[in-house]
Structure formats: C-alpha cells, structure tokens
Symmetry: D2
Subunit: 312 residues, 4 copies
C-alpha cells in the first residue's frame, strides 16, 4: 500500500490535529480518522470526515413524531424499528467521506451507486503510478459453471503462479510502453520522437487492473444499500473486500445502526406471497414437496435454501 509523500504528510497533519467542536463526535471513529486501512494488495480506504452518529438518526426520526411520542421509545428500539420497517430517511441524516484507492475494474462496479459524491484522480491531468492489482494466489479460481458471474474453486498453486506471471508481465509491459509514450524514458527529447504523447491518449493501453483513487462521500442510507449489495456472496471478491472494510468502519461509527443492519438486512430473507403460503402449510403440519408447493422449480429451490439451517 504505497502512499505518496504528500499523502503521508497530510495524514500526519490530520492525526496531530485537535479542535473543539459542539458537533456529535464518535471517539471510536476519531481513533482511526485519516488512517489508511489496507484492502487488496495496493488499495486502501480511509475515513476523511463524517457527520452524525446513532443519535442523529434518532433525532431525525423524532422530528416526524413531534411532541407526541418522545417518552415511549428507547433509542435502540427506535433504530431497530426503523431498520426492520425500512423507514430509511432518518439514516440519510448521517454522512461519511472516504479516500479510496482501488483498481479500475472495481471502480467501474462501485460507481454504479449513483447517489454519492465523487472526485477521482484524472489520468488526463496526471500520470498514473505503476500500481496494478494482482490477486493473491488462493484467489485465482476457475469459472463457476452454475453461477455465470462467479468463480468456483482455486486452481492448483503451479497454475496460479503461471497465471500471475502472465498478468504481471502484461501489466509491466503496458506500463513500460505508457512511460515510453509519455516520453519519460527520454526526458530531454533527444530521441527520434517529437515529444510526449498526450496523457489522455498514452493511458489507452493500461489494463483495468491499474489502481485509481477517489474521494467518495455518501449518506448512511445509501451506504448501507451499497454494503448490502457489495458484502453479498454474489458480489465479486475484490469489491467485497472493500465493502467488508467499510462495514467495519460503520461498526465503529454507528454501532446501533450496524447491529440493526446485521440482524434485519444482511441476515434477512424475503419470502414471496406464494412462498409464505407454503411455509404456513408446513407449520400447520402439512407435508409439502416441490410438486404440491405451487412454486416453480427455481423458487422451490430458493425456498429450501432459505429454510435450511445456515452453514457454519
């Protein structure tokens, strides 16, 4: 995880900074503010700033209730109620800002979440560093034949090594050519070429495994939606690694919201009307099988998976 000199200095400045504030403050998040948390081989996330805490969610929810109900509910119960019933607007009252370093192919999945603010490093203005993602050997896996968008078991170590060597070689060649096109191997332009190719063109052959950086700011509701989708087992491993690191930040930041999210969103199962009808028949003692369930084959399988005890 390479930081530029300037970034390292900026982090030191923030870590040494201390000011008085009347704003809600979360000690557990202040403890890691600005510090990079490593993700993948060269990536990181770090919290740049935040607004609000668990109490800010309660505060926003209670404005709806006016002076009517404030005495009856405990904060934790209210937050859990909001999460369970998807009353999501109070969660929008918290905001967090990250600095993220991530491979371009991960950035392309990430940016699909539109309700967020982004400032990205520009390869038109500036020159990219030689940093590209290489999977850990145990992550080199064959195509899953059932799940068309997933990976299955890891390949044998020798094959993983060959694949990694190939990936490394291509990336290094691309970067060497990038430097040559930029004229960096001939800084005095004494050679045959007429000068540095425009940066916006020289980057054309850089692979999507190269790292980029951005500032990313999002409210807590949209962040939880991002995390629900991107910590899911169907998300690609690489973006999941970022989502898991961010989820741990959420745990520090808003612990009550975090627990409610874990109980009512991550572990939750949504059963369709026909599936619920089957469950009710089963609970009434009836033996139901695929044929008598009225469900499609696929829905029956999905229901059986949902009802099976979770695997350890």
């Amino acid at each position: 995880m390479a930081l530029t000199q300037e970034q390292t200095r900026d982090i030191e400045v923030v870590r040494a900074r201390s000011a008085e504030t009347r704003r809600p403050t979360v000690a557990a998040l202040e403890a890691i503010l600005a510090q990079p948390i490593q993700v993948l081989d060269h990536g990181f996330i770090r919290v740049v700033d935040y607004m609000g805490d668990d109490a800010a969610v309660v505060q926003a929810a209670r404005v709806s209730y006016g002076h009517g109900t404030k005495h009856v509910r405990q904060d934790t119960g209210l937050i859990r109620y909001l999460m369970r019933h998807r009353h999501t607007t109070p969660l929008e009252m918290c905001e967090i800002k990250f600095h993220v370093k991530l491979p371009i192919f991960v950035a392309r999945q990430w940016i699909r979440h539109r309700t967020a603010n982004v400032n990205e490093y520009s390869a038109r203005y500036s020159i990219l560093d030689q940093e590209f993602y290489l999977p850990a050997p145990e992550q080199i896996a064959v195509q899953d034949t059932n799940n068309r968008q997933g990976r299955a078991g890891a390949v044998p170590p020798e094959q993983a090594a060959r694949i990694l060597a190939l990936l490394r070689q291509d990336a290094e060649t691309a970067y060497a050519h990038y430097q040559r096109l930029l004229g960096l191997d001939d800084p005095d332009h004494t050679g045959a070429e007429s000068g540095a190719l425009a940066r916006e063109l020289a980057r054309l052959n850089l692979p999507v495994s190269f790292y980029t950086q951005w500032y990313w700011k999002i409210d807590l509701h949209n962040l939880l939606h991002f995390l629900a989708l991107r910590t899911d087992a169907h998300a690609q491993y690489e973006i999941r690694a970022y989502a898991e690191a961010i989820l741990d930040v959420v745990r520090r930041w808003v612990p009550t919201v975090f627990e409610a999210f874990r109980d009512y969103r991550q572990g939750a199962v949504t059963l369709s009307a026909p599936a619920m009808a089957v469950v009710r028949r089963m609970l009434a003692g009836e033996t139901v099988d695929a044929a008598s369930s009225g469900l499609s084959v696929r829905e029956w399988q999905e229901l059986m998976t949902a009802l099976a005890p979770p695997q350890v």
Copy 2:
C-alpha cells in the same frame, strides 16, 4: 419564534457540549451551532451539523490533479477558478444540516430541490401548534401586472390592516375547528361526539400559512444552486428571507466559497451567442439599436438591462 421546551433543552445541551475532533472545524460556525436564527414571524433556521470547510473543497479538487499541480495554485485562486468554470463536484464534498421551521407554502417551493435529505414533522402522527404566517404590513402588496408571478407596491396601511385581520381570523377559525375535530375542546369525551377525528383528517382545513418543521441536509454545490435561485429577485419574498439567512451561514462556514459565489454566480450575467455578437459590435464602435441587433424585442430588452449600470 416559539421553541418547544424540549427544543430549548436540546439547544442548551448542544451549546454546552464540547468534544475533541480531528475533523475540519470552522470556529465561526461553531459559534452559532444549534442557535435558532429567526426568519419571518415564527420561523427559524439553525445549523445542526456540518462537514468540511473551504479547504475540503480544495482537497477534493486536488485529488483530480494528483501529484502534478499542487505547487502552482493557491487555495483561493483554485476555489475561484472552480466557481467561475462551474467545476462543481468538489463543492459536493461539504455538507450541512439545518433544522428549519417554515410555512407550508414555503415548504412546497423548497422541496422542489430534490437533491437533499429531509425529515419533516408529520401531521399524521402529531398535532400542529397554532402558528401561522402573517406577512408584515409592508409586505402586503398588489399583484405585479408585468411579472405574472410577483408582487408590486405595498397597499396603504389601512388596507393592509384589513387584509391582515381577515387572514388572522380565517387561520384562527381553522385552528379552533381543528382542535374541535381532534376532540381537544372535550378531552373527556363527555359530549355528543364519538371521539377524536383522525389527525390525518382533522388537518384538512388548515391553511398553507401554518408552520411545519424539518431537518434538511444538503451538499454545498446543491445548496449554492438553491441559494442562486432563491435569493433571486424573482423568488417569492418569504422563501428569499430563508435563503438570505442561509447565505449568511454560508458566509461564516466557507468564506472563500461565499465570495466566489457572490462574484461569479450571484452577480454573473449569461449572454447568448447573438447577444455577445451585439456587444462585440458595440465595443468595435458600431451603434447598434434594437432593429439592427438581430435580437428579438424581449432579448434586446434583456440585453439593455444587463448592460445598464446596476441600480444602487
């Protein structure tokens, strides 16, 4: 400006609070944090929380430039450059949260700005207070005959007094009936009626002059867009009063952005391609009039207004 007992207590708690933070902090904004700033007769705005400062805009803008340009630009110059050229995404990296008390008809204009987070007092859950907006006498004005959506000169004081009396009487009658429908004039239900009408129905006859409240959170870019439109002379006076109060908060919060906004957005004039052609001809010494300008009558008038010295 009536605050509930609970709101007054909450404000005292925040005003007395002080915590250490590593986050960017703005002393001039901390000084007024949580304090209500009166707007209109019963309304207010107050800053509940904020994220970022002038430097946070610069920080986000510079991530785009990477390690290439950091030494050349001063922060102020960069912010003014961003504002002048409408590079708006770095402004999205600051966020502010307000508690606002405002008449329903103002809330209906305000909510049209969609890129914001809102939690509003619910008249389905809770009972509205007897607080309604009455214009100051000098604001009671006749319909503008040129500007179909505006007001012209104030009416004479006696007429204003009659109008205000009428507005007050209707609002008070509506509120008395609201209370009667809610059964508040017969709390023991000893009367002939069968009980309190549902709150969601009892409010049907309350006028749009009644006050509501909400928490409102928005990023700085979208806030400036709101302010550009709502401090404009064409905005209705009542929402303009809120916009002016918020603009003064912006001045405290991000003074460099505020000045750039004032110079490059509020005072700016956009001239069309045909209008610029006329200006160029004039600067070259040619005498141009409406007929020879090639502009429509309306555009010619708009151009003459733009070129006239601003009135004191």
Copy 3:
C-alpha cells in the same frame, strides 16, 4: 371531476390522434391514453405518455448477459427472477408520464419521492379553482389509538355529516376571501381597496384540502417503489386511492412486471435473521413461544402476524 374546457379539448385531440411508430407500443395502454380516471371527489390521473413495455425490461437485462444466455431464459421467467432478486436497473428502462389532479396534502406526501420529474400548477402565476377535497362520509373516522398515524372506525353518519358541513363551510369561506383579496368580487376596482392582492399572498389562507395539478414522470423501478409504499395499508387512504389507480395502469402497461410485483413485492414478507431462526426451529417440530424465541415482544408479534393466514 371538473376538467377545464381547454383540457377537454386537448384530450379530444389526443384521442383522435393516430401516428405510425416503430417504438414498442402497448394496445391496452393506448386504449386509455389521455383519458382521465377519477380519484377521490375532484381528482384524476391520466396517462400522458409512456416509453417501453415488458419486452424493454428484458432487452435491458439481456445487454448485461451479452451473447451468452439469450437462449436459456424465457422472458416471463427473467422478469420474475429480476423482481425476486431485486435486480432493479432494467426496470428503469421504462418510463411513464401522468397528469394528476390531487389535494395539496396528498401532493405533499407524493413529492417526497424524489426520483421523478414534476411540473406543478403555480398559484403564484394563476388563480386556483374552487375545488377542495371532502372525504366520503364513510371515510370520516376516529384516530387509531394503536397506530399513531392511522384512522380507525368510521364515526356515526350524523357526526360525519356535522364534520363534513364544518369542513365545507371553512373551505368555502376561505375561497370567498381568496376571491375578495384577489379583487374578483370587484373587478372594476370601484371599491375602497387599492387593487388585487398579489396571487402569491392571496392564497395564504387556502387549506391543504384544495386541489392542485401536476405532470409527473417517473421510471418503472421508482414507480413500483412508490406503489409498494403507497398501496400499503399504512399509507393514508387518500394517497392510496391514487396509488391503486396507478397500479391498475401498470397492470395494463406491463402485465408481466405487474404480476411479478404482486407476487414478490406486495405480498412478500421479509424475515430477519433471528425470525428465520425461529421459523426453522418450528419447522423442525419444536414448540416456540415468545419467551423462548429470543425475539423482542414487538418482533414476536410481527412474526406471528406474518405467519398467520392472511385474512380474507
């Protein structure tokens, strides 16, 4: 349901219009295009335009799969799969535009759905008609004591009549004063007053029961989100009436999406991780009660409600 003369003429023009198009076309929706469908006493919805059909959802989903999977899935199965697994972006590829006439208090709930386009009638520009919402007598109901935001049983007919008389009288008085303030009762300004009050002020005392109008355009994904929330039993009856009318339009427009929505969204139940654990214990033959469930009292009640057979 009063239409202006101009609106009636516009509808006739559209109904008589017929053009050739290569775009996807839905006969069942063309059949009702432009026609007002009455909602409440003076309101309506009418479809002004639409883009896409069931097949457009499939088309967008398949671009993700490229040339890999087109032969394996049937369209209906794919749409049902997308709905079940909340793969919502293909639903964004359909769009619909409505003209809606609705009471202001309904408009205030409706506008909270931010991902939509709106052009509303302006009471700053124009004069509102004397049209206000009066509930049907059987809708006049007392406050629910359990559900703080709902209504319970209807009041006796005589009480309903008294309430309606009160609501009508207040609304009519407010409108008469509105006209007086606008100078409409003295069009030649021969009276004592100096002229018409500005429209933006004269409307101050109009109650939230008055009707407004808007054009409202939204994509199918966000429309279904609106419908899921607003056809729910917890939504206020008056906005539910609009949602039900729109849902029937969806049934005509995209019948396959409609059925999937009904099966997997409207009738669906989301069970938390702890609730699923209880269901699994029950299905394994264990007798579980509130105490042994590990759930909070409220969650246990919610689970029992979910597992109980739906009432006819």
Copy 4:
C-alpha cells in the same frame, strides 16, 4: 462497426415494425430509429426509444401557468424563454434511450453523469469481443503544455504509425492472453491447465481501450447538460465524438429545443459581476486595460478571449 448477428436481426425487426399510437411522434427520429450511427472506429449510438417532442416541453411549462397565459405566447418563444432563463424542469418531460458501444475509458467519463439509467454489458457474465479503440493517425497528438488535460498538435505520420503499432500490439497480446486464460485456445481442456479462469478475473489485463456496450436512458434536461459539457472543446476528443453524434439526434428529435440550446447554451458566455463592470466601462467609452480592470490576470485573459471575435 461490428454488430452481432443477433443485434442485426433485432434492428431489422424494429425497422420493419409499425404500430399505431396516440403518443407524440417525431417523423425525423422514427426515420433513424434503431439504426446504428458510427462513432470512432468500432463504436456506435442508436436510438432505441423516445418520449415526447418540442410540444411536450411547452405542455409541461404551461401547466404551471394554468388557464392564465396560454394565448399570449408562441411555442417557439416559450421554449427559447425557458432555455434563456434556465427554467429546466419542462425539459425533463422528454426522455430518450440509446444503445451505445464505446471504449471503457470513454464509459468512465460518461458514467459521471449520474442522473441517467444504465444497463451495461457485464464482463463477469460474458466474454468481451476483440474490439479495441485505435485513434485515427491524425488524432495522435502531443501533450498540450498549457492545458494540462488536453492534447496539442498531431505528431508526424511516421511517429503516429509507430505509436499505433505499439497500441495495437499490446491490445492484441492482452486479448490473446485473455482467451488463453479463459481456456478458449484449448476448448477440450486437454492441456496442462485445470480449466477456464473465471471471467471476472480473466479480464483483468484488458486495456481501457476495449469496447463495452450499454443501454442509456436520460431526460432531455440532463442530456443537454451532458452535451453542453461533452461537446465543449475541453472535453476529450473521443467522448466529444459521441456527444456530437447525439446532438445531431437531438436536432432531429426536438428542433426548437436544439436551436435554443445552440443559441443560449453552447454559444453563451457567462460574465462575472466584475467582468460586467469592465464591459460597462468600455461601452461608456473608457479605455480599460488589465491593470485598471480590477480583474486578476487570468480573469482578464478570459474576458479578452470572450470579447474577441470568434475564430472561423
């Protein structure tokens, strides 16, 4: 511009289709519906569907005015007024859907426009074709030394040829390795390797010059904002090529809006308050230079550029 067999068949189906509709229809857009319009070497745009026309903008604007002003304004004048004064919500009432094939690095700039709907080809599900962008020789240009994000003059033909050979070779090598990793060079898995690498990993080394595809749907207001930024001379040539092709579609679709956009947005100049003060002094006959202008050096240069006659 390679189309898949399936795409070609789909286009033929749409081109042969004709249905009756009561919706607004634009003959000039129907004429090219579904037809690919080539952009760059392998890319295209094609209109998949549209909603609304010039009259739909007028219709939405007029709902604001109610029954007050319909007789005074002509449609064209109203549209030009809306554009000049940035009354943008009526433009949101038109919608258009494109199928676009574009290089990944262009897609990364394009997706920054968040208010749009997107379904993109997934390289996790499907295998990318061997199609990558190579600039035309005259587009191979050196870095601009003034404009840090732009390109300056073209390089000599022989150098361009060397650069193109390098780009082609890297891209072809990357694709050959991609195929090898996917096991496509050994479809029967008789070789030493254990099977096809997961698609989501095999694509890691593909350069950002490779083509992707998406469906993209956007309203007319947000489309014009996209076009204003992306047809600008500061936009990278490659995305500008797409923007110009789309602008020509807009010309066919909503010709009045197109002309207003060209006159009041594309050719427009925004002058700050201090810059306007300088212009007023000049028009009054005063000779103003940089020193006496009160502007910064940069702003003075910007003003001089704005006032200079546009170059042919």
